[in-house]
């Protein structure tokens, strides 16, 4: 009986938590970004790559167009909506893998640096300083010139732009944790350093990592979009969102929809990700509010 009561109480708690979820940003992220990324094949009304010269430069619906091409078509008659939907997958893949690279590299180095101290700590912190002092755009330019732009080069740039933030933050937290009782006790109990780091300390810095990673989603998407706009991102014909904006750049005076809608997709996605990140930070890490 008591157990049942406890369970219903827990359910109630969960329900309350769910009601506090920021539904607006989550909804926007799902509709504009995640569902298109995963199910573009199914929901896109047209092929994003095949030109259809009979349907060239159709304006969007409500602006003289038809529902068949809801957001209009480009100069080759390709449906803008379908191109945005298909592009979402690449935007998602680049930003997620880039952030994952940043998280893994940054967290590992930050953990070891904070725990081991000594020369390794010094080295890592120097690298963090340099990395933070190097605008990611410079690396992107150099990489594009040296090995050519590709999926890989964009992921490297995103990972490079982000890892130092994770390393710095994780190291700072480890410095506080390594002197705490539970670390000393596991040392006495004979736990190996690896075990202490990954089983005892890592779970305690997980919140920070999650918050930071969510806040970086917007930065990663923006970086990817800028690179593909400049033509140093994932190469054509992949319809990444930045490339779609750049496609319509010279025709803004007459065919504004070619650039407008892909840019709107970037704006909505980044804004929703930022709102979600701010919300998470307040939930998980009240100390860092308003930074």
């Amino acid at each position: 009986m008591a157990e049942l009561h406890l369970q219903s109480h827990r359910l109630q708690n969960l329900w309350q938590k769910a009601r506090e979820l920021p539904l607006l940003p989550i909804g926007v992220l799902l509709i504009v970004f995640i569902i298109p990324a995963l199910f573009a094949e199914v929901i896109a009304p047209h092929d994003p790559y095949v030109p259809n010269l009979r349907a060239r430069l159709q304006p969007p619906v409500f602006f003289g167009g038809t529902w068949d091409y809801m957001l209009g078509t480009d100069r080759l008659g390709r449906d803008i909506l379908s191109r945005i939907l298909h592009g979402a997958w690449y935007v998602l893949a680049v930003s997620m893998i880039g952030i994952a690279v940043g998280v893994v590299v940054g967290t590992t180095l930050g953990l070891i640096a904070g725990y081991a101290r000594g020369w390794f700590d010094g080295l890592v912190m120097r690298l963090v300083d340099i990395s933070l002092a190097l605008p990611a755009m410079l690396l992107a330019l150099a990489l594009a010139a040296a090995i050519g732009a590709s999926f890989l080069s964009v992921v490297i740039v995103v990972g490079f732009a982000l890892w130092a933030y994770f390393a710095r933050q994780v190291r700072a937290e480890v410095l506080l944790l390594r002197n705490s009782d539970f670390v000393a006790r596991s040392q006495v109990a004979g736990a190996s350093h690896l075990r202490i780091l990954f089983r005892h300390i890592l779970p305690n810095v997980m919140n920070t990592i999650v918050v930071l990673a969510t806040l970086q989603v917007g930065i990663a998407i923006m970086l990817d979009a800028s690179l593909s706009f400049l033509g140093i991102g994932i190469p054509r014909p992949t319809p990444t969102w930045g490339l779609l904006v750049s496609d319509g750049r010279d025709f803004i005076a007459t065919d504004w929809w070619i650039s407008f809608f892909p840019g709107l997709a970037i704006l909505l996605t980044v804004m929703a990700a930022n709102m979600l990140g701010d919300w998470l930070r307040e939930q998980l890490d009240p100390r860092q509010r308003q930074i």
Partner: protein, 306 residues
């Protein structure tokens, strides 16, 4: 204070060294210059003399030192895309255009964001505050290149007030500067607001009020001076994003600055110019960071005497 400054300068120089190393390594990755610079039907003799002339037969570290020595003298070779042009000279020619745009963008950011952030903090919860919050949320999520295109659409095509692209009169610089500054205004206003909110709550502000100092002077003299340290820390980041912004925005507006050169050079696989642009950007960036460090000294007495 001298110790603080010399440490900052040393670390900037070290970072520059690392950048030259990365640029050098990437040159190696890009394939042999023999393939890039010599015609396909070059004889073995030509190839050999080319290798000797460029020092390609020496060990890697020696090649790096040669590269570094040349770089220190500003010698990055001649451009491949713009024949006969000295790579660094060509980049330096374009530098004033970029600095003009970046300077205007910084000026706009400060002139708009500081008062906005202060007003939002003073009238916390009021309509200015709410408006500023929404502006910041949208501004920080908007891709600058898209904003630039929209600005051209509205102000050049529709209203016909300002030129669409290129460089010339002051009016050419307005739209690109707004496109670069927009994000910075959002970020800077948000930072200023939170810093001011913190300071306005402190004892010496209350004391100043009790003493009968005018509200104007409390906010702008006592509070802002102490709150200014926080937005200042942002200035280092500001320099970086304006640099990034200039690459993107110069492309949108065909503004013939360093960013435009960088993109054109990459398209033409003009490696000497790409190297020169990257190093030039890095130097500008390091210098602006040093200026921020100096400003700290001016604003924060703890650094000055520490």
């Amino acid at each position: 204070m001298l110790k603080y400054l010399s440490r900052r300068i040393a670390s900037s120089l070290f970072a520059l060294l690392v950048i030259t190393f990365i640029v050098f390594l990437l040159t190696q990755l890009s394939g042999s210059p023999v393939d890039a610079l010599l015609p396909d039907d070059a004889t073995q003799e030509q190839i050999d003399s080319f290798i000797r002339e460029w020092g390609l037969d020496k060990p890697l570290w020696q090649q790096y030192l040669t590269f570094l020595g040349n770089a220190a003298q500003g010698d990055f070779g001649t451009s491949l895309k713009w024949p006969g042009q000295d790579a660094m000279g060509f980049v330096l020619d374009r530098m004033p255009a970029t600095l003009e745009l970046g300077g205007l963008a910084i000026l706009m950011s400060v002139v708009i964001a500081l008062p906005l952030g202060v007003a939002a903090a003073v009238y916390k919860g009021g309509s200015i505050d709410n408006g500023a919050q929404i502006f910041a949320l949208v501004g920080q999520s908007m891709p600058s290149f898209w904003l630039g295109i929209i600005l051209i659409w509205v102000f050049s095509v529709w209203l016909g007030w300002l030129p669409t692209s290129g460089m010339g009169s002051f009016s050419h610089a307005i739209l690109p500067a707004i496109a670069i500054a927009w994000f910075q205004i959002s970020a800077l206003a948000r930072l200023t607001r939170s810093a001011m909110l913190e300071v306005l709550d402190v004892e010496y502000i209350k004391l100043a009020r009790v003493k009968g100092v005018s509200e104007w002077s409390v906010v702008w003299k006592h509070a802002l001076r102490n709150a200014a340290v926080v937005p200042l820390t942002y200035f280092g980041i500001l320099a970086a994003s304006i640099l990034t912004g200039s690459v993107v925005i110069e492309t949108v507006f065909s503004w013939p600055g360093m960013g435009w050169v960088a993109i054109e050079a990459i398209r033409g696989r003009d490696f000497p110019v790409v190297q020169a642009v990257i190093i030039a950007y890095a130097v500008i960036y390091m210098i602006s960071n040093l200026v921020v460090d100096l400003l700290y000294v001016v604003v924060d007495p703890r650094v000055r005497h520490g």
